[in-house]
Symmetry: C2
Subunit: 279 residues, 2 copies
Amino acid sequence: MGLIGGSVALALQKAQFVPHIVGVGRTEKSLQQALYLGVINTAETSVEAACNDADLILIAAPVAQTTAILKSIKPHLQSQTVITDVGSTKGDVLDVAREVLGVQFHQFVGGHPIAGAEKSGVSAAKDDLFLGKNIVLTPAAETNMQALASVTQLWQACGGIVREMSAETHDRIFAAVSHLPHLLAFALVDDIASRPNAEELFRFAASGFRDFTRIAGSSPEMWRDISLANKTALISEITTFENELTQLKQLLNNHDGAGLEALFNRASVARNNWANGKK
Amino acid sequence: MGLIGGSVALALQKAQFVPHIVGVGRTEKSLQQALYLGVINTAETSVEAACNDADLILIAAPVAQTTAILKSIKPHLQSQTVITDVGSTKGDVLDVAREVLGVQFHQFVGGHPIAGAEKSGVSAAKDDLFLGKNIVLTPAAETNMQALASVTQLWQACGGIVREMSAETHDRIFAAVSHLPHLLAFALVDDIASRPNAEELFRFAASGFRDFTRIAGSSPEMWRDISLANKTALISEITTFENELTQLKQLLNNHDGAGLEALFNRASVARNNWANGKK
């Protein structure tokens, strides 16, 4: 029971999509809070009890826990139950699900809602978190079409825009537009923080630095897991970016003002078009 | 008459620091607007007339225009007048001022207010733009101490915190905390925008990407000028950053989760400490 699971529960309740929502968690505290806030109908610490007669199980936990959670579910997984997840990487999740669920793997649908918030925890959950947001589903060749349809309907009930693609395509896209920017922001702050004059440097950092490095304030554990899970695509992205930096250095070394302005202009136009289109 | 010049004028009026403010500009439109908004007392398109009996001249124009502006002022610069500027790079400005002003160079004080806003133009000017913000002044060996004191008092009247350092130190600091982040953001967006599947990639870019790339929406001309003016420090910063990326790639290749987490953690702690201290 955290931000994502709680927000799905609230959105489904608002849409009157499901008659009963069971929250499952390791700690009593977040479950009691979820009950108190009306996010869930029942709280459960026993996975076995929670799996009983479940139509759909949504795993909304840090990616590193997916294997353990799938293993705890497997012995109690009924044949009519659909399972899905919300992890930021998909290739590794499908591999694990295929391995752990075995012949029941066709009941699993990989998912990734492209939504988040500054705050975490069930108290930050809100019923419109997914409204108009992209939800990527990554069915495998084995995936049951009924299961895929159920998960699609669930996210549509939450207001999301469902997009299907392979796990491999998903991981390549997010290596470029999410994982690489995070690593660049972490790298820049680490670079500056490790210098003898770090204090002086930070004193003069301003609003541009604040926005650029906001994602460097993200959870180190979560980004360790994402980086390792998607390392092949990520290494390839870093290499491409290094080539871009080599080009920039050449333009600077050649004092090529027209070349620099052309590169900055391409970026500026693309960025502003994107931001305006997103509004 | 733009955001910076207009905001200085408003702040000085509010502080009742000066009896008369003359706005000088190339276009009638911004001058008329500044008069209409009460930002300035008199508008002037003649540099000669504006220089007459001036106590202090503040050059608040794109850095690339500094040489031309100094040359236009030089024939009319009286001996009691102090000149200062607000450019984002300082080594190049001091070089140009030394060359153009000759024996009157001691009347010039290089300055850089660390403040800005999303919007530009005199209509965006506000009297509290510099309140609590760092104002870097970069006196040279030749600089007249009276001139430095005048410029210090001007910025303190605007609510700024004046910090003195050499032009070289200034340019090294801002290469790290401002110019490098801008170039990284431009490079990332250019990298993505130039791919065959750019449209698909942008479709899945979310809020982290938005913040990280906000500075890539900045003026290409302005950043061309800054990059060239500070290219030595900037090339050195890019090289240091490339070493940081090499380290990240090694950690990924070695599947070194502990090493990645340690790096992300150093960055995350430093970033959050900085952001909390800035509030």
